[in-house]
């Protein structure tokens, strides 16, 4: 058996096997479970890299579940050729998302070794962690709308449980229940949309439905689009459905916050891109109207996230509001790309959205990991109780300052580059959009300067005496992510040319996505 032939499915089933086998491995003690989860998240990362290389080298990868050959996606039924089985369809966009997810997942797993040392039930934590990873990878790699829903449920249910994992605090249980209720409502809307599409077209494969929509658009699919959009806007944490995120991120253990903010909400953004550009296609929809809806929502999101983040006292809550604001930037890029599809502005919007998605995953993942370090070492999340941390934990503080400045869009870090592209793209549509985006960026800078000034610089309160940098297994992921931030800032063409541009081409080229499956 050739591994490269089965690489697409291996990315999904490797963490799945890890999740199933963790209960047995944890019988041998916590150390064994630690190593086990490290091995499986690391393997997933390696497989994602291999998958990305394969996609870059040979174009879209098709993997048909249950067929005699992975590439045979269709059946011949009385001369009619159409896909019947579930298939994974991996283009450059999916491969980019899979790479980001498994990267942050691997670092969060290693970070969890020491971070979760005071908690009980660590084997349950690891099981749910790997299931969360499986769910996200399944969503981004699949080429089937019902399969996407199934993996969305795996991701959501494990995320509910992980948010409420520290059940000894009332906050965590409350946040978990709220997330459960609103998340299930969103999942129901998405399921209804899948049902409508299946009812109208009798198929579940994205490529087949996209082809049928192109040929004969039924009025019902617009209802399905509204349902889909509402569901995934909630999953992406975009205003006005961002409120679960504000509760869930502070309450979850920090490695989970990093995953939630870094990649779980990005799967919502991925699904919105996939639905607009591939499932429906820009040709059949009223691009201007839908694009402006997204842009307006994005502008509100940026302002709400930025202005409310400015008044927070809780470090993780502040980071959560910042995530909302940054999701606004990604949505702005998507909206601009819809309005001005296939023009310079539209391409720049997509490049900016996807590059900001990658950058934000790295930056916010790192910032939440640092917030976890502070919580672990100091036992508090209140900014006012911190102070002078740069003298006590210099490496962590330096990384936080890099990340904070990067996310606020200060040159020469990576956040600036993606925001610059987004400013220019939105200014081509309407200069007012760019102005609002810059103002919101200033608000973000304001909230991070507050944290840096109060918590890291300044004078340490009497209570913080024996504080030092965390152990190596917690520090190394943070430092690597900080190095990535600097590299992507100084050499932005490195990620943009190698992975972002192919992903943008994949998003724009709906025809090649369809022709990879259909004859």
């Amino acid at each position: 058996m050739n591994i490269m032939e089965h690489i697409a499915i291996l990315v999904v089933i490797t963490p799945l096997f890890g999740a199933f086998s963790t209960p047995f491995v944890s019988l041998a003690g916590k150390k064994a479970a630690d190593i086990w989860v490290g091995i499986f998240s690391g393997l997933t990362f390696v497989f994602s890299i291999l998958l990305g290389l394969k996609v870059l080298r040979s174009g879209i990868v098709i993997y048909t579940l249950g067929a005699p050959e992975p590439a045979i996606a269709t059946v011949d039924y009385n001369g009619l050729i159409f896909p019947v089985r579930i298939l994974l369809e991996v283009d450059a966009l999916s491969a980019l998302l899979a790479l980001v997810i498994s990267l942050i997942g691997f670092f969060a797993a290693i970070y969890s070794w020491r971070y979760m040392e005071h908690d009980t039930g660590v084997e349950k934590f690891y099981t749910l962690f790997l299931l969360l990873l499986t769910g996200m990878l399944g969503i981004v790699l699949t080429g089937d709308i019902f399969n996407m829903y199934v993996f969305l449920e795996i991701m959501s249910i494990s995320a509910y449980a992980l948010v409420a994992f520290r059940k000894e605090t009332f906050e965590a249980v409350e946040a978990g229940i709220k997330y459960l209720v609103v998340g299930s409502a969103a999942s129901t809307l998405i399921l209804l949309a899948v049902a409508i599409l299946y009812g109208v077209y009798g198929s579940l494969t994205i490529a087949q439905i996209a082809h049928l929509i192109e040929v004969s658009p039924s009025p019902l699919i617009w209802g399905a689009l509204a349902l889909y959009l509402t569901g995934f806007i909630l999953k992406a944490g975009i205003v006005p459905l961002h409120m679960w995120l504000i509760d869930a991120h502070p309450a979850a253990p920090s490695s989970i916050s990093a995953l939630l903010s870094g990649v779980v909400i990005k799967t919502g953004a991925y699904a919105i891109i996939r639905i607009f550009f591939t499932l429906y296609g820009v040709e059949v929809m009223n691009r201007a109207l839908i694009g402006w809806i997204i842009v307006v929502i994005a502008v509100i999101t940026m302002f709400v996230g930025g202005s409310l983040g400015l008044i927070q006292q809780d470090l993780k809550r502040l980071l959560a509001y910042s995530s909302v604001a940054q999701m606004g930037y990604i949505a702005l890029g998507i909206g601009v790309a819809l309005i001005a599809f296939n023009t310079t502005a539209g391409d720049a919007g997509l490049v900016g959205a996807l590059f900001h998605l990658l950058n934000h995953a790295i930056m916010k993942g790192m910032l939440f990991l640092i917030a976890g370090v502070i919580l672990h070492q100091l036992g508090t999340r209140n900014i006012n109780e911190m102070g002078g941390l740069i003298k006590k934990m210099p490496i962590t503080s330096a990384c936080f300052i890099i990340g904070g400045l990067a996310i606020a869009g200060v040159p020469p870090f990576n956040g600036f580059v993606s925001k610059l592209i987004l400013y220019e793209a939105s200014a081509m549509i309407s200069p007012a959009l760019a102005v609002i985006a810059i103002i919101s960026s200033a608000l973000t800078l304001g909230m991070y300067l507050r944290v840096i000034q109060t918590a890291f610089l300044g004078r340490a309160p009497e209570t913080l005496k024996d504080i030092r940098d965390p152990p190596a297994s917690m520090l190394i992921p943070i430092v690597i992510l900080a190095i990535l931030i600097v590299i992507f800032g100084i050499l932005p063409s490195l990620p943009v040319d190698s992975i972002i541009t192919p992903a943008v081409e994949a998003v724009k080229n709906q025809a090649s996505y369809l022709s990879a499956v259909l004859p």
Binding site: I13, F20, S21, P23, L65, A67, P70
Partner: protein, 161 residues
């Protein structure tokens, strides 16, 4: 008739019938699981039927009476085992140079018990998983009920004092 010493148990008739029916329900559940590919039913349905046996015991004997016999820790491991089995059956296709979840085993004559390749084996794996999973869920729910009853009782006693 004299009430039972244990207030969480139902009457002796219910307990006796539950004890008698326990094996029958298990056998029926196994039947539904194993014949999943030739009769209506299958792993999910049969698994729930099998879990019903545990639910019935819980109804008749209460949480305190059952948890000494059926440990949810063991059931959880059993569920993981079922999941691993299902996962591995999918991998058979990869090993046999087809794809994941390809049905490559002996197909036989449709309608016979040993036919349809991996489908009956997958039914058994899913049945194992669903039976133990649903049983664990119900036991956990009864743990919750047990504790809430305990706290209510403690509160009531505290109020009486």
């Amino acid at each position: 008739m004299k009430m039972s010493e244990k207030p969480y148990e139902l009457s002796v008739i219910v307990r006796t019938v539950a004890r008698l029916l326990f094996g029958l329900i298990l056998i029926f559940g196994f039947y539904v699981i194993v014949h999943g590919h030739i009769t209506p039913g299958g792993g999910f349905q049969g698994g729930v039927v099998t879990a019903l046996a545990v639910i019935m015991l819980l109804a008749a004997y209460g949480y305190e009476g059952v948890v000494t016999e059926v440990r949810e820790k063991i059931l959880e491991r059993f569920e993981s085992l079922g999941a691993i089995m299902f996962w591995t059956l999918g991998l058979v296709g990869v090993i046999a140079t087809a794809t994941y979840f390809a049905d490559v085993l002996y197909k036989g004559t449709p309608g016979e018990l040993i036919s349809a390749g991996t489908i009956p084996l997958m039914n058994i794996a899913v049945g194992m998983k669903v039976a133990s999973g649903v049983a664990v869920l119900v036991i956990i729910m009864s743990i919750g009920m047990y504790y809430s009853r305990k706290y209510q009782k403690a509160e009531k006693e505290g109020a009486e004092e």
